[in-house]
């Protein structure tokens, strides 16, 4: 929570409308959004950072998401899941636009006849990707399966627990989180070995 965003709730309790960029925002709704902001801004930025890979993009989208939630006219039951949904959609749209621009920039910068790039970075990239794939394949089955379900099938931890239970493996949600963290740690270890100067 950054100090400039944190502000004390208004002293008066009666609801009133006030204009914001052409919309009229209900005061009670604004107070709920403010409370949600205080609790969720940090976690939302980190959630977006992991997905986008950039803290700047994460902060930008988090602000956009809060603005979008603030401007909603219909009543919303629980703000937090709605906020994450909005942020996820905004991120997906941003990623799609950036991917298109990246493809265009590369193609336009290189001209219509694409000259062959230097093979060295490509080879290094291939080696790193292969090392990562080998590490993933070599993970213990339960860790590999939870990593796969989490990162590739994009299941929630509760859903992973349920999926494992259906296969006869009864574990707590915290254990599943620990397994996924262990898988990530092993991959990072493999990357460190790969990046170490020979």
């Amino acid at each position: 929570m950054t100090p400039e965003h944190a502000s004390a709730p208004p002293a008066q309790t009666e609801d009133r409308d006030y204009p914001l960029e052409g919309h009229r925002i209900n005061d009670q709704h604004a107070r709920r959004v403010r409370e949600c902001f205080q609790k969720q801004h940090g976690p939302l930025v980190r959630w977006l950072q992991v997905r986008s890979g950039s803290e700047a993009v994460a902060r930008d989208i988090a602000n956009e998401a809060f603005m979008a939630v603030l401007e909603v006219k219909q009543p919303i039951g629980d703000l937090t899941p709605y906020l994450y949904k909005v942020a996820g959609n905004l991120l997906a749209r941003r990623c799609a636009t950036e991917a298109t621009h990246r493809r265009l920039d590369t193609r336009i910068a290189c001209g219509p006849d694409l000259s062959s790039p230097s093979p060295e970075p490509l080879v290094a990239q291939e080696q790193q990707a292969l090392a990562l794939m080998r590490t993933l394949e070599a993970l213990p089955p339960r860790i590999r399966e939870t990593v796969r379900l989490r990162f590739w099938e994009e299941l929630s931890y509760a859903e992973i627990v349920q999926r494992l239970r259906e296969k006869g493996v009864v574990v707590h949600l915290r254990t599943v989180i620990r397994w996924v963290a262990e898988g990530v740690e092993k991959c990072r270890e493999a990357m460190e070995v790969q990046e170490r100067p020979k």
């Binding site: 980190r46 899941p81 993970l139 399966e145 989180i177 740690e185 991959c187």
Partner: protein, 379 residues
Amino acid sequence: MNIPLEPRIPDDRRRREAAEWLVVNEAADERIETSEAEWQSWSADARNRAEYSAMIELRQRMRALPAPSAATDEELLYDSPRSPRAVGSSPTRTTALSTVLARYPVLTRYRGTIAALAAAIAAAAIGIFWLSSYRLAPGPRTQTFQTAVGEHRELRLSEGSLITLEGDSRITTRLGELREVDLLKGGATFNVKKDGNRPFVVHASGGSIVVVGTRFVVHQYSQYSHRVRVWVSDGAVEVVSAGSAQTQPVKLRESRLLVKSGQEATYTATGASTAQLIGLAAFPDRIPGMFMYRARPLAEVVEDLQRYSTKHIRVDPEVAALEFSGSIFQTDVDHWLDRLPDIFPTLTVEHHGDAILILGRFVPALPLPKTALRQPAGK
């Protein structure tokens, strides 16, 4: 003075903590309980932050990889000893290899070799699959189309866009990840089908016109002005001129020019580009078979007409910049050339076999008397 020493945290512990934070932060939308104060305290250390950034980078890399193989039910049940309780667990672990060895005991002595061989084949297969997934990916389909002098041709691309190729023009189309057209010569009208995921790009004279879905005309002039002109009658396009594309790839987006409906843009090989609003009457594709001009250099007009005449038309550089406004039927080029001295009294048109020369008349070096200026010749 005693300087307090920071407790030394081993790298593997830092790595473990970073991995845990990554996993927990990624699940923020699932309301996994975390302490904001703990995160603030942990991320205050620069080395922790660096390790966390490396974790995020790793996560991004993992997105580009294919999923690891799914664990079988058997593998899940009889995983490592430190795994938590499993329903109906059994002390013996059966694998495909052990099943084969049980059936053919003679192979037991080669167990290690067989396992290594199987692993090598699996790794090679994965490697080949992975490499082939992008190395052997089919490239874009390329086709070249050309029209003869005076010919008009309509091309319907497989993705639905319509290209009307003008006379004596040549294009190459490439339909892959992008829909690309190289305008090699002449002019064409593009009626582009909207597809947000596959932008349509026209390359001409080193520059590019990027479009999502619209109708526009491109003319490439290679004789006199070396300009490319773009008219947009519907939607919008982005013009990226050659100078910006080749010399400033990083600042590419900053030097793009947005051309909206009702505007005309020009760019040259040096990168200079402009966009201006023009009346709909001046759009070249308004009436098929007719060129419409407003204050256009004579040389550019002639270059357009050359694509509809078998004769070689040459313009004296002295008069090439004269501006012409009006309309010309593509089937009536010869007649227009004959009438040219009426439009521009300072011009003469000479016929020499297959060649037509547009020349400037002799202009006296001395200033004309004021009465002559009030009453131009020919009136």
